[in-house]
Symmetry: C2
Subunit: 555 residues, 2 copies
């Protein structure tokens, strides 16, 4: 052995569903040439990341080794795989490779950030490969819920690694390439050292259903509906959008696409040739002139997002269109865990409008884009890898996936974000633990998830905020009285006086009693004022607030 | 007609699942004698009510008419039906009636608030009735997921109203009275004017399953488990706790109950006689001495609540007990929509500990306490009411329930919180719209949901908080410079200087340029400083913060 090794290091996506970013390396330890597979985002929520605009993987480790980074490969155009390219490109600078549709979407993102479209290079499908450093990488078409998804074949001098990407086994996917067993058998033939494999649906016992199965059900629903039909799904699920549109078309309805992402995706699909036909669509203005029983809208917002078309229709009007009693709203989608409240909110708003809401609880109007348990097992059998490394899952998914591999006598390795795995020997080993985390995009600024900024926001939201101001003159004498402002706290306290009055009185008393040692020492004074403010608020309203103390000394 | 009428007015629970509070009245308009059925709470969340401790119905309407309030009847001891009695008793003052187990729980709550236990009166089951004003009210046992649940028969001079309470049709409920069709037929015999009916599971197509069906499945799971088994369910689901304990007992395991609510409920059940037998339990100290394969814990926290036993075990240790690789954690429960994030969090924490997590996705380990669609229809058939008034549901549930009634040719009325329905004539009519809402318990203070306090908290959480202080002397001259504090905002802005420095510079410049008209006018000065602070923050970090301006004038 030359002392060279293959390493696998997830920086995002292993231990969570979101912000995928997987590093592969080949070379002598600490001199490996590197590639990055996917560079996605995840979405903030009020519980853990209020006010944050987007969550990116922390790529510090990779940034510090950017001279060794050969290239970035994007498996498909979902936001959790491509969403961060525009935000993090500057810090990495390596060329981005993707197939045509994905490259098109990536270029739009790069353009949004002022980068040249030439940083994104279009690659054809396997057997074409890209040679970067010691790697030869090929994009093998695989079925998923967006066009041109690919698994990657990553050949190294020490053997072949397969990165499944997000996938399902679907031989009738409506749009894009059917799952091709022969092709994957061909990939497997030289032997596969490691399969890094999608874990999302490892808890789903039954074989997955094909995209083609939803069309007839949707068509029946649309035909039976009396009023307008509005359907939502992920804009990037071009096959589903096509299925919805064709169902409407066959039912004699005009089709209108609402929401920027929806139009952008269909345009991208047509431009890149992944969609060769799509029914004629009408504009929102034209739609208002069409009798509602002859109309179907396909809209963004399947997750109840407040600004999407669905939520705006639920609140009233969008692009001049309103829903009415007797209309039907179809969720041709599933609710991602954590989004339930938003989805239920718009369901109830539609109910108030007299709109019939249909979701996928019947199992007729949606199929998942990920391989279920038996399909994951089939992928293992097809590729017959020496080792399975589950990815794209929370800890529980990865763990279950390792168990699943073990049941068939395969070696599975549970590697979460930051665990660098050495794949060179007969048994994979943990080479190193790398610090990873999340970077928050906050407005236009990037901050570390643990910087304390968001922690302070959460504290203010839970506890309210008291601001105490005192002014001292040259002789350390109080000018006026301590002054309080409160935000996010009840006005009146237990003593039935205003909370601000109670605070100001107690703070005055504290200063009156405080000795020179306290008054002349900013830290001591601040600490005392904070303590009093917290105690008084606790007495008055039963909770301890966040306190900011501002001491102004007139020199 | 004497001009008297029957009214129904939901103040909580109709248009939501939670904080049930239904008013019934009989008498001349605006002179009706009133009763209240249930007085529950609902739970806050970070999205809409951060920092709030508990949500209570706004009972202003009832408080203003407390001289007409005869009594409060509690159907069962779930928090969303009895949870507010201690918090709102003072404002209503009427006697509380309930069956023994519910009364026991209600008294504990009253005691927590320093009220006499005599304010709660125990009533036996139907055919016993309570006469209050023009009403005769009887508690008819009905199966649900807590002992001694009851539907109420409310007789008025103009006929009988039935309030179903929360119910399911279960003839083998493990604990408590089986659903008794004969009894309900007897109730129906004189004719039922209106059925006010549980809507929770109106979207569940299949007939509900009995509580008795889960025992054998749980026993099998416990027998097959190799390590310790920990199971969680709602503490108040005494039948389930018993089922879990008996499964453990039969599998030869010692049982330990963890969590205050769990022990309190079992004690209440034994004390009030609803539970005649329960396997012997061991203390947490004893549990640590028992081999883990001989032990089963039954713990609180099925909804992932951060302070409950389950979450503490997931984080590490609870009462000296830790979980280990090879143990099993069972959710014998369903996740209430909105609680997914918390539940998934602990599932992943257990996964990190090597614990196998089993939930109800198989459908084996939990059954609902509410009537499914066919069971709701059966209740309609049994009682054959002139009109169905759906309750205990979000808008979409109530609407579907009205449709369901309509399919069988029944009149259904969709009445949400605040709609007063006159039930006297042949057709129910809307008598009045009453203002209703939510009251937040915040620490020890009650505030209106729309008071702005929580809105300010949400804004601080989303936007961060900038505090600007300026001090002006007697001549309206600035003393020192404007002073900024920020909380919940990134430290460094776009210009790579600290945000605070950028703010202070821009604010100084603003004051320098401001004319006397602005400087001498607090409102104008404040408005100007706020505008500059927001604009500078927008320029530096791309978001507009909340701004508090403190102007101190030295007199």
């Amino acid at each position: 052995m030359s002392g060279e090794r293959i390493i696998y290091l997830p920086l995002g996506g292993a231990g969570e569903i979101g912000m995928n970013a997987y590093v592969y390396g080949y070379g002598k330890p600490d001199e490996e040439r590197l590639i990055l597979v996917d560079l996605g985002v995840t979405f903030p929520d009020m519980d853990g990341s209020p006010g944050v605009d987007l969550i990116l993987p922390d790529i510090t480790w990779l940034k510090e080794r950017r001279d060794r980074l050969e290239a970035i490969f994007i498996t498909h155009a979902h936001e959790d795989h491509v969403g961060a390219v525009g935000y993090l490109y500057e810090e990495l600078g390596a060329p981005i490779y993707a197939r045509a549709f994905t490259a098109h979407i990536a270029r739009l993102k790069m353009d949004d950030h002022g980068y040249s479209p030439e940083s994104v290079r279009t690659v054809s499908a396997w057997p074409e490969t890209v040679e970067v450093g010691p790697f030869k990488v090929g994009f093998v078409p695989i079925s998923h819920s967006i066009p041109e998804s690919s698994g990657l074949v990553i050949d190294t001098p020490q053997g072949r690694v397969v990165h499944s990407g997000d996938f399902k086994i679907d031989v009738t996917p409506v749009v894009g390439e059917p799952f091709d067993r022969d092709l994957w058998e061909e990939v497997a033939k030289p032997g596969v050292k490691a399969l890094v494999c999608d874990s999302t649906n490892v808890f789903s016992e039954h074989a997955g259903r094909s995209e083609a199965s939803v069309g007839p059900e949707i068509e029946k629903l649309v035909r039976d509906a009396s009023g307008m039909v509005v359907a939502t799904t992920f804009a990037s699920n071009v096959a589903r959008v096509k299925t919805l549109a064709e169902a409407a078309d066959r039912a004699g309805r005009s089709i209108c696409l609402l929401g920027r992402a929806m139009r952008r995706m269909i345009e991208a699909s047509i431009k890149t040739g992944v969609l060769d036909s799509f029914p004629t669509v009408v504009s929102p203005e034209e739609a208002t002139q069409i009798p509602r029983e002859n109309l179907m809208l396909i809209v963004t917002g399947s997750q109840g997002e407040r600004r999407a078309a669905s939520a705006q229709l639920a609140r009233g009007k969008y692009n001049g269109i309103t829903m009415k009693e007797g209309d039907t709203f179809l969720f041709s989608s599933k609710t991602i865990p954590g989004n339930e409240r938003g989805v239920i909110r718009i369901m109830n708003q539609f109910s108030e409008q007299g709109v019939d809401v249909v979701d996928d609880s019947s199992g007729h109007y949606h199929v998942s884009g990920h391989a279920n348990r038996p399909d994951i097992q089939e992928m293992h059998r097809l590729l017959n890898p020496q080792v399975v490394l589950p990815m794209h899952g929370e800890h529980r998914h990865l763990r279950e996936h390792v168990k699943l591999a073990g049941m068939a006598g395969r070696t599975g390795v549970l590697a979460v974000n930051g665990m660098m795995i050495d794949l060179s020997g007969n048994e994979p080993t943990v080479a190193e633990y790398v610090e990873t985390g999340r970077t928050y995009l906050d407005g236009t600024t990037k901050i570390g998830a643990l910087d304390g900024v968001v922690r302070d926001r959460i504290r203010m939201a839970l506890n309210g905020h008291v601001i105490v101001t005192v002014i001292l003159d040259e002789d350390d004498e109080l000018l006026g009285e301590p002054w309080c402002e409160v935000m996010g706290l009840p006005e009146m306290g237990r003593s039935n006086a205003s909370l601000v009055d109670a605070l100001e009185e107690d703070l005055s008393q504290f200063i009156g009693r405080a000795g020179a040692k306290t008054i002349t020492d900013d830290d001591k004074l601040e600490e005392g004022l904070r303590r009093v403010a917290r105690q008084t608020t606790q007495n008055e309203i039963g909770k301890k607030p966040e306190v900011s103390v501002i001491i102004s000394r007139l020199a």
